[in-house]
Symmetry: C2
Subunit: 382 residues, 2 copies
């Protein structure tokens, strides 16, 4: 038996009827059979990971799965030998393309895997999004499990079932809503995460405070040092609270007809930055950070935030070592042309997430085009 | 106002909760605004069709949609000008690939279409399957409408939400369950359908009799001449009854966990024939016809059908001008290697649809491998 029961694991649930699933957060989950085996759909398992993550965690995960062979009788899948295969993709947002997903499908078909197979996404948001979409479309939909290894994936992309890939004309344009069977967040994996990516993840954590929970924002301001130092208790709390907020929003609006769009604070601007700069040159969280500053500034122009609020947003983003200015190479029109393609738009109206106050966001489609263009022109660049 | 209200249109419903939708069957539906406009999600419309269908029906459909401009006040979308675009793909099963779907996505993105757009599939099963999958994955899912123009698509592939494309290693391996907003069957479109394709469609019609409704099978035996002559009353009844059976099965089991698999009578053998012969060389309905004969023969070997039953199956397929033998170039192993990849299989057990009696099918995973191999070896070839 593993000794996992003694680990401090916090669990919460994403409530989506028959598509409900748990999120488990704790150190060492990657080696916990009891948190992994119940979510396999059958004995065929395909692990999808990348070249950076594989050397750190692939072996451990395979060992954990293979341990299923001598698992005690009361565990799932006793006696059934697992067929474990793997796909190791290159690292980075630039690989988040349909052709990477085709590599996963080719591997599944080459292995003869059927509808009862399970895909496991071991990696950051790119691996999770691609694996989820591969699962959504393989034989019209098979099971998958998220094991996010970056903070950004742990607090955001692994939860809620948004899967997909980028298209040269826009981010996440091809994809599906497809929920995982479980999300297993092993906080130990953050120890190998580069500081720049930790900061990028904190952008999404800060976002939850800004759009939903002023008290959490204050907690983050007080604990940013502990979070950047990956102190286990602080990190586990920040992840759990972020996932709680996301789960609450997603349960209310799985396919983003309404409130779920609030999670996109800063993302319309951010996606334009990522696309213009070339995917991966700005990390997603960095682009979202600059985008949240733009949304805060626009909210101030509408008269909802005051100057002190905007400075508070800038201060916490700076404290997390995140950008609060836009790329010097981008003109206003570079933003506008890409923002017109945003998935939130209805017919040809631009929809933006703004802040009514710190801790409460709103969806607006009545932004004055001239005001927006002025903001995009005047916003500081570096 | 159009004069469509006077058309004899038969309507039925596919009951899937909030994903429920109507099927309308009648002559002249392609020009009926009142059967088309209520199902548009917004003002952006992308028609997907092929080079064979476009010259016959694309203009009429666009005219019908464009008529929306001067529609009376009580109709949907008054005042809103529609943006109508089109993608015209090559004809045939060989084009049912991911790269064709990418052409649809590219067209949608080039047009700047957003989440409220509507795709219209105007064509046979290949166009419907690809358009449905394109809709399922564009911006994580947009609306689509099926306007099937072949008998096969009208009685089978346009109903039930199975969408997808082929992979070199197997048919329909990549796809999604994604329900249309409506299915509009204009029986007038059958007048331009080549007789060989009409017969291929009759294979699926006969299938419904074999698996579900002995009385319908008897009606088909008596009316096959009228159907092959495309007599409006007979054709409309055959389509409506086929869709009724399919809708009943799909409502019970949308994602093929159980009873829906019965609709695959003959398909496991048939898919192997199509894949081995090269997609499109045998029409889907032709391969299913030969496959249903194989299933009937295997059912007789199990002692469920008698020799007279098997001959009755052969007789109705022959009367519809459909093949009842397998391709001479296929060995038993050619079937077996492809059948092992079938989506119905659980882990590595082969699952087949067989006939307990005429009018009642069953799913079995206990076929004796030697008996199956003997059948595949002895089955007549031409």
């Amino acid at each position: 038996m593993s000794s996992v029961s003694s680990l401090p694991v916090e669990s919460l649930n994403v409530s989506l009827g028959e598509r409900s699933y748990p999120i488990h957060v704790g150190a060492g989950l990657l080696t916990s059979r009891e948190h992994l085996l119940p979510y396999l759909a059958g004995r065929q398992v395909m692990i999808v990971t990348n070249e950076v993550i594989a050397p750190h965690y692939l072996h451990a995960l395979k060992e954990t799965l293979a341990g299923a062979l001598d698992a005690p009788k009361e565990e799932t899948l006793t006696g059934a030998e697992l067929e474990i295969r793997e796909v190791i993709l290159p690292d980075g947002e630039a690989t988040k393309t349909l052709s990477s997903v085709e590599r996963i499908w080719d591997a599944l078909l080459a292995a003869g895997f059927n509808r009862r197979c399970t895909l496991i996404a071991l990696g950051g948001g790119v691996i999770g999004d691609m694996t989820g979409y591969a699962a959504a479309s393989y034989q019209r939909g098979v099971a998958f499990i998220q094991i996010p290894t970056t903070l950004l994936a742990q607090v955001d992309s692994s939860v809620g079932g948004k899967t997909g890939v980028n298209h040269p004309r826009g981010k996440n344009m091809i994809g599906a809503f497809w929920q995982p069977r479980a999300v297993l967040v092993d906080t130990d994996t953050l120890t190998t995460l580069p500081p720049r990516e930790l900061s990028a993840g904190l952008a999404e954590v800060i976002k939850y405070g800004l759009i939903w929970d002023l008290e959490f924002l204050a907690w983050l301001e007080a604990n940013l040092g502990a979070l950047r130092g990956i102190e286990e208790g602080a990190i586990r709390y920040a992840i759990r609270r972020s996932c709680e907020i996301k789960a609450e929003v997603v349960a209310e609006d799985e396919t983003e007809q309404g409130v779920r769009a609030l999670l996109n604070l800063g993302h319309t601007f951010g996606h334009a930055i990522e696309a213009h700069q070339g995917y991966g040159n700005w990390l997603h969280g960095e682009a979202v950070s600059a985008g949240m500053m733009m949304a805060a500034r626009l909210s101030a122009q509408r008269g909802w935030l005051n100057e002190a609020d905007v400075e508070r947003v800038a201060a916490i983003l700076c404290a997390a070592d995140l950008p609060v200015t836009a790329p010097a190479s981008m003109q206003a029109e570079d933003f506008l042309s890409r923002m017109r393609l945003d998935k939130k738009n209805v017919d040809s109206r631009l929809r933006l997430i703004l802040l009514e106050t710190l801790g409460r966001a709103c969806i607006r489609d009545d932004t004055d085009p001239e005001q927006l263009e002025r903001l995009l022109t005047d916003f500081p660049r570096t």
